[in-house]
Assembly symmetry: C2
Homo-oligomer: 648 residues x 2
């Protein structure tokens, strides 16, 4: 159901009812852009990621919000859902209200356009909004204005006034004097004529209207009422009416009530978020970090500088959230889900071992069809996110005996996923924990390298070639974090390539200390070498808060903080290594091989040393040859660089 | 005629033809926002204004461009016009192309929405564009990519690559190994089967497709061709085809040609501006400084830091421009034009002493009706700007004997207006001169005052109360430029109120020197005290470059640089003073009065001094009383401040 400025007020009670009767809510947002400023990388801590997103993405605007409510009908054993698709736009209420400037990203708008997104609906009919602070400030301003107009004080304008126009008591300029005199004469005649009840003045500019108001106020102290009206062709003019002081007061009173009503309406969409908060219901989203940040930023409070403060704010506005991207990327789901993007996930979760949930739309206007594929309309995305959540929740139930008909949103089975936000593209930290400390994986195998801007991936790969495969997270053009695939080699790095002519290398720990990045290296995340559990016979978790009511066969869930977490091979896909599924015996053999490899590496390093000595020799003994060589190498590098740019 | 991505290519030759056959062109632009950052004020020099606009407004986007061509048909004695309304949007061509981030202002979009602006047309069908530098860079990139793919080099990705995905040689992760092996088996079977000509692989993610490409390239060196296709439901999959090396080369060749064609198309709207430049035709706009800056910034070159460089760039891209807002605000037009906004101007210029020009649209698709009032659609605005220009040009002809049937765009009568841009809201500099030095009016009567943030207009008015009316140009919350209405009092200011406890005051000259603002005080702009000339009997200008072919009855035009300019009372409206039209005798009496006033002022100043002494006495002798008073005063001020905010 599309909700715009036009039907928001009348629909709002229904929305509140839907929220209050629901078992859980699913949400989604569409924005005018995604990325700006510092780039995210694969070794960001959740705190670093928060700061990057805060800086880079909150200048964009959330323009569409999807809300889908899901209510379970026990007798019919099915969910009833209601989907709402809100169009949102911060039309300024008046001159006191802030005139929002927001950023757009061309590729994002182009993407939305390809999904048939209706921009006209946003800018023509978008629901306005105010956060609580803005509402308070406008309410104060309105109260002051009313008090002031009652005292009829002479007002002096403020320098923060937007328009560059005249700022002071009005003096009628010469060229307008005859026009104003003419108008005054007209009003005089009108006041004398007992037959006439209203007088329409000629169309004129805003400045002239201001002059008329000022002149009329001075000249006709009593008995008239001026009102600016707009013609169909958008021309604006003043209408003069006769009015006794009582009539004027009554009109004034009505105007004031209208002002308050208008302010109430201007809070607009923020009321929906306030109702969600009030309900305390579980809110489900897919890869919802950005959605959450935008919602908080626009409708609750500008995002705080402090990370812990952000967590508090988020938890305060959304007391219970669950991210389906995090669920689907974690076992027991992960082994059955090759693609976790929302579109594919929905399809995958319709097939075995999962099952399509029994869902019905409350009414025609709430309905979406998964066949129609309206992907990236926020209301539809919220709906299919809810579908995915129910499928995955019910799948958790299949590990219980007897298998329950459904897993409710408040089931302890879901607790491990609650209040955790999926963190995209990070190799060793799958989520941000809104209600506790974040995971602190061991990063002893990660190194920070800084180098000349001419360096490419191949240069870094070459530098680390003695230590096997590496994972490179570019920070900018002159630095990167490099993770060793064979972590056992970590101890060798600083000893062998720690000193470089053209580059600087340091451990992740040192890097964090020097850059004052909050480095979390206390908890150790042990990489699992034995195979992940086959479906339906997983290892029981070491510690579980709500284990009492659980079948011991329940699969392990996502790593928890404050214990030695066993990372469910989230990094394996990224690392490109098959360790996660290797059989224990094979793993042992592999370890032997790794040790062998380390020995080989040492030999390679010796060769490298030899090469450096040779290079020095070449430079000092036969500099001319060296010069030619290095010029050639530089040329090759430049070509590589150019080539690489084109390829992307 | 609406021009979008869909019909741009086919219409372009017609547009070029229209430009080339035209007598002059009229343009207009619509933007996603207007103001951001430092505020303009009424004592900005053109250079300061340029810098403020450059900083504040070029982050917004020009999304609609109106072009209307006007061609005079001598035999029919009428103009034939063709109106084009372009929708413009920087859809990125590919990943090498810059992904533009631009700003929007909520109130501006709301304004456009109220004018029924079609945003969907912009984002769905906007014509892309590249400036020459971007075009060159993409052309280089494409050439490199082609060279590289011919050599079939292994490519390494660049760190400036947008996506945070895997950056290095691809290793197939374990969980995708069976999938990829399966695909390879399928391809193998397909290659053996002589009957089949193409094989559609299953739908998969972009990452999986990348893996397939990589695996296929390694495994099947010859004889196959892979191509990614998109299904109707937007699913993407790879199609494998058998292809000999010759066939592959042919396909490659065609792809390359398509790449070049695509790049050519991506230059898009910039081609229209290039054609306008090439034509050298007079380009007319209304209040066109912002239009010009946006056009240069988006389609020619990012706006230069240096002001003179900007002037050169502007003059280079638009060799001849004329601003109808400047014309209509200058005599001989001004006396007959009370409102110079485009909508009202058009109406005014249809009536005597002006005359509606004889204009016909070339065809139905080019037509607009002035009755329909499509104000703020760029094509329509360009059209009525052209109408206004013709009316005003023809009006200049009415001063000649015999009156010509029309004044052509290259008439010397128009020369004084050519290459001058109207500068909004500046009291004493009406225009920016693109082909010479800007006007340097005398600002000896202007003072810079800095004060506490609590000060309001009333405080400044009070400070200067001894010198009569003042004009205040707020710079920010703690400083303003103050101009005396009675300039003769200028000499007294520093002597009397030059030293202040809570404020700092300095002359405009000193202010310019301290802030290193380019202060232009060499040329003197004498304020005219005698009346402005009645229509049809104006004073001849003192100096005129092209006076040889002019009737001596020609009305004076706008002030010219490098001579003692006689400002046509442009400031009078803003100053709110009738001096401009006072009779000489009366003016003398007025001057006497002014001197008298100065004497009175001196007495007032003495009183002020007395007050300061008294205040000091109060502070030191009875501090408790003073405290109470100042608390009260502060409260009053705070209330004023709040009240003033509400009023605006």
């Amino acid at each position: 159901m599309n909700i715009t400025r036009k039907n928001f007020k009348e629909t709002f009670p229904l929305i509140v009812e839907s929220i209050n009767e629901a078992d859980f809510l699913a949400i989604d947002g569409e924005f005018t852009g995604l990325t700006n400023g510092r780039k995210s990388h694969s070794f960001d801590t959740p705190e670093e990621r928060y700061h990057k997103l805060k800086e880079g993405t909150c200048d964009f605007l959330l323009v569409q919000f999807g809300l889908c409510t899901f209510t379970y009908k026990h007798e019919e054993k099915k969910y009833i859902s209601k989907a709402y698709n809100f169009y949102i736009f911060p039309t300024p209420l008046n001159r006191q209200a802030s005139d929002v400037r927001f950023l757009c990203q061309a590729s994002s708008l182009d993407f939305l356009a390809r999904q048939s997104f209706d921009f006209n609906k946003v800018f023509y009919e978008g629901i306005p909004y105010l956060n609580p602070a803005e509402e308070q400030s406008l309410s104060d301003a309105l109260q002051e204005r009313h008090n002031q107009s009652m005292n009829n004080e002479l007002t002096y304008v403020s320098p923060s006034y937007e328009s560059p126009a005249f700022k002071g008591p009005l003096v009628i300029p010469e060229e307008h004097k005859s026009f104003i005199a003419d108008i005054c004469k007209k009003i005089e005649t009108f006041l004398k004529d007992e037959q006439e009840t209203s007088l329409q003045l000629p169309v004129c500019t805003a400045y002239q209207r201001k002059l008329i108001y000022e002149a009329a106020r001075k000249r006709f102290k009593m008995g008239i009422q001026l009102d600016t009206q707009t013609a169909e062709n958008r021309d604006r003019f003043i209408v003069v009416k006769k009015a006794s002081e009582e009539e004027k007061k009554l009109v004034e009173q009505k105007k004031r009530e209208a002002d308050w009503e208008e302010l109430k309406d201007a809070v607009g969409f923020s009321n929906v978020i306030r109702e969600i908060t009030r309900s305390g219901k579980l809110v489900v989203g897919h890869n919802m970090m950005l959605d959450l940040m935008h919602v908080l930023h626009q409708f609750a409070s500008p995002l705080p500088e402090d990370y812990e403060e952000f967590k508090s704010l988020a938890h305060c506005v959304f007391p219970r959230i669950c991210d389906t991207k995090l669920m689907s990327s974690t076992n027991p789901f992960k082994v059955n889900i090759p693609m976790t993007d929302l579109g594919n996930l929905t399809k995958i979760l319709e097939r075995a071992p999962f099952a399509k949930p029994n869902i019905e739309f409350a009414a025609e206007e709430h309905s979406y069809s998964t066949v129609a594929n309206q992907l990236h309309e926020a209301g539809y995305d919220a709906y299919i996110t809810g579908l995915c959540f129910i499928s995955m929740a019910n799948f958790l139930g299949t590990f219980q005996v007897p298998i329950p008909s459904r897993i409710p949103a408040n089931s302890p089975l879901l607790e491990p996923f609650v209040n955790k936000l999926y963190v995209m593209m990070v190799v060793d930290i799958p989520y941000m924990n809104l209600v506790g400390a974040d995971l602190k994986p061991n990063r002893d195998h990660v190194f920070h390298v800084s180098f000349p801007a001419s360096w490419r991936t191949s240069d870094i790969v070459q530098l680390f070639s003695a230590f096997g495969h590496v994972y490179i997270a570019w920070i900018n053009d002159t630095s990167a974090l490099v993770g060793l695939n064979y972590k056992d080699n970590a101890g060798l790095v600083m000893k062998t390539i720690g000193e470089g002519e053209s580059y600087k290398i340091q451990t992740y720990k040192d890097y964090c200390q020097t850059t004052q990045v909050i480095c979390q290296t206390t908890a150790v995340l042990k990489r699992k070498v034995d195979g992940s559990p086959p479906v339906k016979s997983p290892r029981p978790p070491k510690k579980r808060k709500s284990s009492g009511i659980l079948n011991p066969d329940l699969p392990p869930t996502i790593p928890e903080e404050q214990e030695e977490t066993e990372h469910e091979d989230l990094g394996a896909a990224l690392w490109g290594q098959p360790l996660g599924k290797a059989r224990p015996a094979f793993a042992k053999a592999l370890l032997c091989l790794l040790h062998l490899r380390a020995v080989v590496s040492m030999i390679v390093v010796k060769f490298l040393h030899l090469w450096v000595v040779l290079r020095l020799w070449v430079r000092h003994i036969c500099p001319s040859t060296h010069k030619t060589c290095s010029v050639r190498a530089n040329n090759r590098r430049a070509t590589h660089k150019k080539a690489a740019r084109k390829y992307n």
